[in-house]
């Protein structure tokens, strides 16, 4: 390592946190090197939504676009929670195992320039203010070492840059100074659910979405193709590649290197990280140095990198002096319920997750349960955007009768979903799998996940409310339920490098700087002391990154 690096800052990872940090820092005049383990995706050519067989795959895979990790054995399923098992019309129970298992990849993410924002739905949520003080109010999780008011200007900045469309009247949030695009019109699913929610006295409102309701910033408006999760070929979805990274690149202060994994952080034995060691798929090694190092690899890979960087100066892993790295893992606690409407609908059209109910989002809003949740239209996230998945999962049978049913029922599936607070517990954490290494010989992260009864009671409430909403919407034929009890399936993961004031209970300070390593920062959801009541985290990650960048 030397002092002649042309870079002021190295950012590891290019998702919501890394990209927003790069934007903030390049705007402030810093020269930034962004290191991304995955490839670049070209929206125009890599997202094949114009092909006839578009539905046979979800977000495209490229070499290196999926991280590797393993799962520790998960909890045994119990008869008393049988009603929370996932099932559908065709297959019955979706898992025939006696224990909870990962569903497909389990941790749904993208390695690539833009990170998981490439495949995200694009919900742009601010945290409920009350969800930031879970420890002082309820003696669970930890308090955020900053207030909503501290984050608010950065929320405003991120929303404006992305072009968030939506509503500024949301319970538990102050939108003073915000400038959102007009909300999108409701597609069929939300129209149905809005009526049902109203019958229950619930408020179904426009969801705040990183999708343009009119052309903005040189990007076109959304054309409502329903497939945000397969990648947006138009660039109207506010993924990091077309927003923060594009803007940062315009400064000519951002250097991007893709397909390059950071495999170790090196330190000077005292208080500084001296540089990073990288490896590519060909086995070559590279080193880079800069005065400031920022990790933005997400709540699985950031702790993994810190733990894999252990050396004689930091034998338990960098920043892990108090054993906090990898602890407090929080996952996506979710439930999706799908029913088949009798009415002729076209629920495969429109913006995914266009409507939302925040009524149970506050941490004390569910009776006798700590931690909130939210409900939204999820027909797209349930991957019911085309006939293939109807035939695979929802419409039973075969022969002429089956084909007739397909013609009649296609477009009539209505899904309502819930995501809830995920509270940390001693059984949920990330550590290194001593038996499995990646191509660079480094131990993989191992995911340990446990759902105690307190979590399952919240999930049970979510499931019951989804059922109530569908029933009130006039939908009585339930064709699929899918939830976290028997299947680990997380897009949002949090908490494994918690921020706080106390080095004994946290990894970084309130800005995201390591308590010990004075030039090492973290800006991803591993910082979160609590998960929020079902809010999607990307906007908060971006706000935290912009705040951190402004502090340097």
């Amino acid at each position: 390592m030397n002092n002649t690096s042309p870079f002021d800052v190295i950012i590891v990872g290019s998702g919501a946190g890394g990209s927003a940090a790069a934007y903030g820092l390049t705007q402030a005049g810093y020269n930034v090197l962004m290191l991304e383990a995955g490839p670049r995706f070209n929206p125009a050519t890599d997202y094949p939504l114009s092909n006839a067989d578009w539905e046979l795959s979800r977000f495209p895979l490229k070499p290196g676009s999926q991280g590797q990790y393993t799962f520790a054995p998960m909890q045994k399923l119990e008869p008393r929670w049988q009603h929370l098992r996932s099932k559908n019309t065709i297959n019955g129970y979706l898992s025939n195992q006696e224990t909870r298992i990962p569903s497909d990849a389990g941790y749904h993410h993208v390695r690539g320039l833009g990170g998981s924002t490439l495949q995200f739905t694009g919900e742009s949520h601010r945290l409920h203010q009350d969800a930031m003080n879970m420890h002082s109010r309820f003696n669970v999780a930890a308090d955020w070492p900053l207030s909503y008011q501290d984050l608010m200007p950065y929320y405003n900045q991120a929303e404006k840059l992305i072009g968030v469309a939506g509503d500024t009247h949301i319970v538990g949030r102050d939108y003073t100074g915000a400038s959102l695009l007009p909300p999108h019109p409701f597609a069929d699913t939300s129209r149905i659910l809005q009526r049902g929610a109203a019958k229950l006295g619930l408020h179904w409102q426009a969801n705040n979405r990183a999708a343009l309701s009119h052309s903005y910033d040189g990007r076109p408006s959304c054309n409502y193709c329903h497939n945000c999760n397969r990648g947006c070929p138009r660039g109207d979805k506010g993924s990091a590649d077309v927003t923060f990274i594009r803007r940062a690149s315009l400064t000519n202060r951002l250097t991007i290197k893709t397909d390059l994994s950071v495999i170790k952080l090196e330190n000077d034995g005292n208080q500084k990280i001296s540089g990073v060691i990288c490896g590519n798929h060909a086995g070559q090694r590279f080193s880079f140095s800069a005065p400031i190092i920022i990790l933005a690899c997400g709540a699985i890979e950031t702790p993994r990198l810190l733990l894999n960087s252990a050396d004689t100066h930091s034998p338990e892993g960098l920043g892990n002096e108090s054993g906090q790295v990898g602890q407090h893992f929080m996952e996506t606690l979710s439930w999706t319920l799908t029913g088949m409407s009798d009415a002729p609908l076209q629920t495969f059209k429109g913006l995914p997750a266009d409507g939302i109910c925040w009524d149970f989002n506050a941490p004390d809003s569910i009776p006798n349960i700590i931690g909130g949740c939210r409900f939204s239209s999820t027909t797209a996230e349930a991957d019911l955007s085309g006939p293939v998945n109807y035939a695979r999962r929802l419409v039973a049978g075969w022969g002429a009768e089956f084909k007739a049913s397909m013609r009649q029922q296609f477009g009539q599936a209505v899904s309502v979903g819930a995501i809830g607070e995920s509270l940390p517990n001693a059984g949920s954490f990330i550590d290194l799998d001593a038996t499995t290494q990646d191509e660079h010989g480094l131990a993989l992260a191992q995911i340990h996940s446990f759902l105690p009864d307190t979590e399952l009671k919240r999930l049970e409430f979510m499931a019951q409310q989804c059922s109530n909403i569908l029933q009130a919407s006039g939908i009585t034929e339930i064709v699929e339920s899918y939830g976290s009890y028997d299947l680990f399936s997380s897009t949002h993961v949090f908490g494994t490098c918690r921020m706080g004031y106390d080095p004994l209970t946290s990894v970084t300070n309130p800005v995201g700087r390591s308590h010990r390593w004075q030039n090492l920062y973290i800006c991803d959801a591993s910082l979160f002391p609590s998960s929020g009541g079902g809010e999607s985290p990307s906007l908060t990650i971006e706000a935290l990154a912009l705040r951190m960048a402004s502090s340097l």
């Binding site: 067989d53 578009w54 799962f71 297959n91 990962p102 007009p182 022969g399 089956f402 084909k403």
Partner: protein
């Protein structure tokens, strides 16, 4: 523990029990010959699942059976399942499933769908062939036309944007 999908899990669990690997099937040339033998059987089977009607063609008219064999070329477990399943169908038909009267084919499929254990060959074969056959069938441009569908892009569904909030 590596993440497994339900489908992978079923295959991993069940194949070793009910479909022990016959070494002879590992040879590509033999596989090709066997596929040829069972091509008509699989075609007749998928046409029972997806028959022609007044609106759309049968599965084999769209080459769905060929798509299944192509998929099996890169999936040894599926290849074994197709071969074993077609063999089972022919045995049940006392020689050739293709020539079985339609009423008997219907009875057989009804049993496979509703009564056969998904942990045994007939149920497993039915479940997997149905899954892949309907996937290829409803991913075909021809069927999309009969449903009035176009791919989501590049047009999208701009009529949604015309709705009032």
């Amino acid at each position: 523990m590596k993440p497994l999908s339900r489908r992978q899990l079923l295959i991993a669990t069940l194949y070793s029990v009910i479909l022990p690997t016959p070494p002879v099937l590992l040879a590509a040339t033999v596989r090709h010959k066997t596929e040829h033998t069972f091509a008509a059987t699989l075609g007749a089977f998928v046409d029972m699942i997806l028959p022609a009607d007044a609106f759309s063609p049968a599965a084999t008219q769209l080459g769905i059976d060929q798509s299944l064999w192509q998929l099996a070329d890169s999936d040894a477990n599926l290849n074994k399942l197709l071969i074993r399943g077609c063999g089972w169908l022919n045995r049940e038909a006392f020689g050739n499933f293709v020539t079985l009267p339609d009423s008997h084919k219907l009875e057989l499929l009804q049993w496979m769908d509703q009564s056969a254990s998904p942990r045994r060959l007939p149920g497993l074969f039915f479940m997997h062939v149905r899954y892949h056959a309907v996937s290829f069938y409803y991913a075909s441009e021809h069927i999309h036309q009969t449903l009035g569908l176009t791919p989501p892009q590049p047009i999208g569904y701009p009529e949604i944007g015309q709705r009032k909030r």
